[in-house]
Symmetry: C2
Subunit: 601 residues, 2 copies
């Protein structure tokens, strides 16, 4: 069952991102390389047995809403149970929180495997994990004791309840209210939409981590608090009482049809209780812990999905014979046997494009999870460095896989021709599934505003400078190899162009013209993310070259040659897109800023 | 019901492409401008009443296969009947063939309306029209009398039966056989897949225009003949006898779920009769008449679909309030009322991008249909000129709307955020529907090989030279207006770059290295089609500028200002993509030609 290349994951962990470096820190002393490998094997085994075989079935027999109940595919029960059994939900939690303290780097690699096998299924686990971690990080001990062990056991599931119908992405406009009572809890009233995994028949309870506004709170995001709002509230005797949280609908979606997307109403009977997490009005700050992790998780999910599609299209191209190679006279000889379609240059281009996107995104994501781990185990300036790098790269690590994974799968579908469009082949499902990734957890537009408007400028550009230093180090390492020098040069030119673009844009911000500064933030995201992934490819190319020259690497020489070839592909076909991005970003014509409503019709 | 802007169609017909010029020719003497307008009004009325209201229903209640029968949405019966009543199926046929001799230009504009309203429904009509025209053009009178009047009345439907399971896009490998009998017909045996509109309950008979190989025919495409193979064969007494054509399946697709896609088996009982159309072994030549028309039809369908999606997302953006405009300090003031999302620059960019793609594609398609008409009414060198231009532009007119319409709808879906992904809004349906367009009638890869490998090089580049002359004329007209001069300059630069790219690539063809010459044909297509649509926008910009300065034009000044603005948008955001295309196409590194199979893994 080929939906991901675990050799590539090992190459990334051990030869590119040096995950073994983590073993020297106390936090990870329970592990060794064999334990990391075992985690990957365990995830692959779980994915092979419980996730991948149900990928299509969870789409054709989707989540449905009947008589007030959300019914998911019955396999979900096994998926939750088996995943909880291997400790998946709290794998990377602190031991003090009942976790394994598995490095995020290794968890990320394992998460890619599950997502490649069945992206809808993983969401349920990821949200439960994220919700439990929020309680563990910021909640009182009593909240922890009441909820977290049940969640880690997979008996109860968690959700992230932010969005409201009238507010959409604008969290400052949420109106769900929380009224204090004398009994230590709040009464919650309002509604939330698009709540992923918010209800189904395969768990006994749902623990919603919900944003709401305490009466009298300041307007905007500064007046938002975080609450635990369970579907059933646990009583002292262990029994469960309905908590006036009603699931009024399950949104039917184009894809990820195995993943529930609920509409919740709280407090219709004035009996919905919520428990404050941490301090009042700091809800959004706490939630950002979960949101940042969720953004990386979306990147992992999108990349996994694109990986599944890549191997489905590669398999087809290796088996399907059609047409002939062109001969010297430019004609095809019909008396020859048809050739495999993988031998047609246009098909090879579409395959390498998928590979370049998928493997490049994987490298970026594992670099981010490694930074997360390094920030956890470092102190002072070092910790701050990793923290800033992760802050800067998070919107890119969410957006590049979502946007370019979509492009990858589009090419994968095209490889199959008409069959790619038919329900008998999985490409159309991957195509539908991945389309939500640019919407989840902040759309591409919002991620782009975050990147250019906040992350690039924060602390006077400190994060950007740190990233430039990292890229510089990669370039210096690559300069050791003659074959890589042209690519080092190209990447260096792109860094210079990025600086030029920023020098062109920053004055708008300084003059207070923020709309103009940020008008094409999405194009800046496209440019920056393409360059960042080229950096990842240069890292991978350098590691491959080093292993080939040293001989006797962990992988075959063909494996390393394939990395080098794909790196060259990325530099030839993808990196030059930044020529266009830079040109457009430095064009002074203003065409999309309001003032000309009548021009759109 | 806004799914298309008919004012834009009138602007294209009368102010950009001068459809009134056609009225001076004898072929079109039955018409005047009012008759053209009436055709558009009739199509809009038909689309409003019979097409658009069933767009969603034909998706949610899709074509299904039950007990050997194909069941389409019952509304299809009305759609066929009402369309036939207004003479739609033979509208552009010669009067001698029972048609109206409506110019293709006007028919194309009307066809855009129907496709914008309901793309699945139009296919049934288009294929019936194309099949009837093939019989009328190349068949004997007896075939014409037997089939064409019934088809034009909408009682019988037509199909185009080319693809076979083992051959896919490679027509030289088809194996369906035709064995001559002494009774003037042939016995047909074989199977055909992906036969659009090949069977359903809403017509009495199906007339398949089928490619097959007469016993002993030469190998390859030179041995293919064209047959009429009906589902029921009409007897002398007017009764219908089953003709041993069995529908064994209806392919279930991701989109266009209202459009039947059948799998046909012929001759299981050795009793499937086919009647030869024209001469033996010339089948592919005849079929190309239908295929070329079908390629333009796919362009119209893709463009119409993207038009429907554009207006759905525009409507949403004009009604949905969310977030606030950025203030001088770069912050959002939560005490302000939320603004309409159309006021966010990123949303405006996504809307203008859709508009630029949709309206640009419409202009290109109507330019092509006008060339078709001019080729029909001209003689000698003039006719040859239009014929060559149409040959060159057809693969672009098929591919640009299919590929970029997909991008347009992707942006339309993004405008709606999470709602765009939900089945309650139509964006996801447009997104699924349009995805087939790059596969129909020759994939993008095949169209690109046709463009670079055949059309550019044919007659020593004569067609390309003619196109360059046309663009030059547009540029000269635009030079009259100061405001347009910068765009003339940009387009001129792009023509020069195209020449450079071709000078770089042609030597490979001359050296017999056709694989290398054509390896990146798809990128050449992207570049060429972007430049061609920029040419169309300069035409539109010039017409708009002219009308604004003259005053009292057919449309409002705001309408013309919107055209100019969108032209500028296309030149700013889309045309610079050719910087990247040219860069990649002139790169000498070879990475996608076979010889390195092991590199893809």
């Amino acid at each position: 069952m080929k939906y991901i290349n675990t050799d590539h994951l090992r190459f990334l962990l051990y030869e590119v991102h040096n995950a073994e470096e983590l073993l020297q820190y106390e936090r990870f002393q329970a592990f060794d390389k064999e334990a990391f490998d075992m985690m990957l094997d365990t995830a692959k085994d779980l994915a092979d047995k419980e996730f991948f075989p149900y990928y299509v079935a969870m789409d054709t027999d989707p989540v449905r809403y009947e008589d007030g109940k959300v019914i998911a595919h019955p396999q979900l029960k096994n998926i939750i149970k088996k995943s909880a059994e291997i400790g998946w939900i709290g794998a990377s939690f602190d031991e003090a929180h009942g976790g394994m303290q598995l490095p995020n780097t290794v968890f990320g690699a394992a998460d890619l495997i599950l997502n490649a096998a069945n992206n809808s299924a993983v969401g349920y686990l990821g949200l439960t994990s994220g919700a439990a971690r929020l309680i563990a990080s910021f909640g009182e001990q009593s909240l922890y004791d009441t909820y977290v062990p049940k969640m880690m056991a997979g008996d109860w599931m968690g959700s992230m309840a932010l969005t409201e119908p009238q507010a959409g992405s604008s969290l400052s406009d949420i109106t769900t209210s929380a009224t204090p009572t004398d009994d230590g809890h709040y009464l919650i009233k309002g509604q939330k939409i698009f709540i992923s995994g918010g209800d189904h028949q395969c768990a006994d309870n749902f623990v919603h981590l919900m944003l709401a506004r305490i009466e009298g709170a300041p307007a905007g995001t500064k007046g938002i608090s975080l609450f635990v709002v369970p579907k059933y509230r646990p009583e002292a005797d262990g029994s469960l009482t309905p908590n006036d949280v009603t699931t009024v609908a399950d949104f039917q979606k184009m894809g990820q049809r195995g993943y529930a997307t609920t509409h919740l109403m709280m407090g219709e009977k004035e009996d919905c209780r919520g428990w404050l997490v941490g301090q009042p009005h700091l809800g959004l700050k706490y939630m950002f812990q979960m949101m940042n992790a969720a953004r990386i998780e979306v990147g992992l999910s999108a990349t996994g999905t694109a990986s599944g599609a890549y191997y489905a299209s590669l398999l087809y191209a290796q088996e399907r014979a059609q047409g002939r190679r062109l001969s010297k006279d430019g004609r095809k000889n019909p008396s020859q046997e048809p050739t495999l379609i993988i031998n047609h240059p246009d098909v090879r281009r579409m395959l390498f494009l998928q590979k370049a996107i998928v493997e490049g995104a994987m490298s970026l994501l594992l670099d981010c999870t490694k930074m997360h781990d390094m920030a956890d185990v470092s102190e002072g300036e070092e910790a701050e460095k990793y923290h800033l790098l992760l802050e800067l790269l998070t919107p890119i690590a969410k957006t590049y896989p979502s946007e370019m994974g979509k492009v990858a799968i589009d090419n994968g579908l095209q490889v199959l021709g008409g069959y790619g469009y038919c329900m008998d082949f999985p490409l159309q499902q991957y195509y539908r599934d991945i389309r939500i990734m640019t919407l989840y957890e902040g759309t591409t537009g919002i991620q782009s505003l975050d990147l250019l408007g906040r992350k690039i400028t924060m602390k006077n550009g400190a994060a950007l400078q740190l990233l430039m230093d990292e890229v510089q180090q990669t370039m210096e390492a690559a300069m050791m190899y003659e074959e890589l020098k042209p690519y080092v040069k190209q990447l260096g030119e792109k860094l210079a162009v990025t600086q030029q673009v920023l020098q062109h844009l920053m004055p708008y911000a300084m003059q207070g013209n923020h709309e103009r500064f940020l008008a094409d933030a999405t194009l800046f995201m496209e440019m920056a993310s393409t360059i960042v992934v080229a950096w990842q490819w240069l890292k991978m190319g350098t590691a491959a070259k080093k292993a080939m020259l040293a001989g006797g690497g962990a992988q075959s020489n063909e494996f390393y040659a394939s990395k080098l070839h794909t790196m060259k592909f990325f530099f030839k076909y993808e990196l030059p897109k930044t020529l266009t991005h830079a040109h457009v970003l430095m064009d002074n014509e203003v065409l999309t800023i309001v003032g000309e409503e009548e021009l759109i019709r």
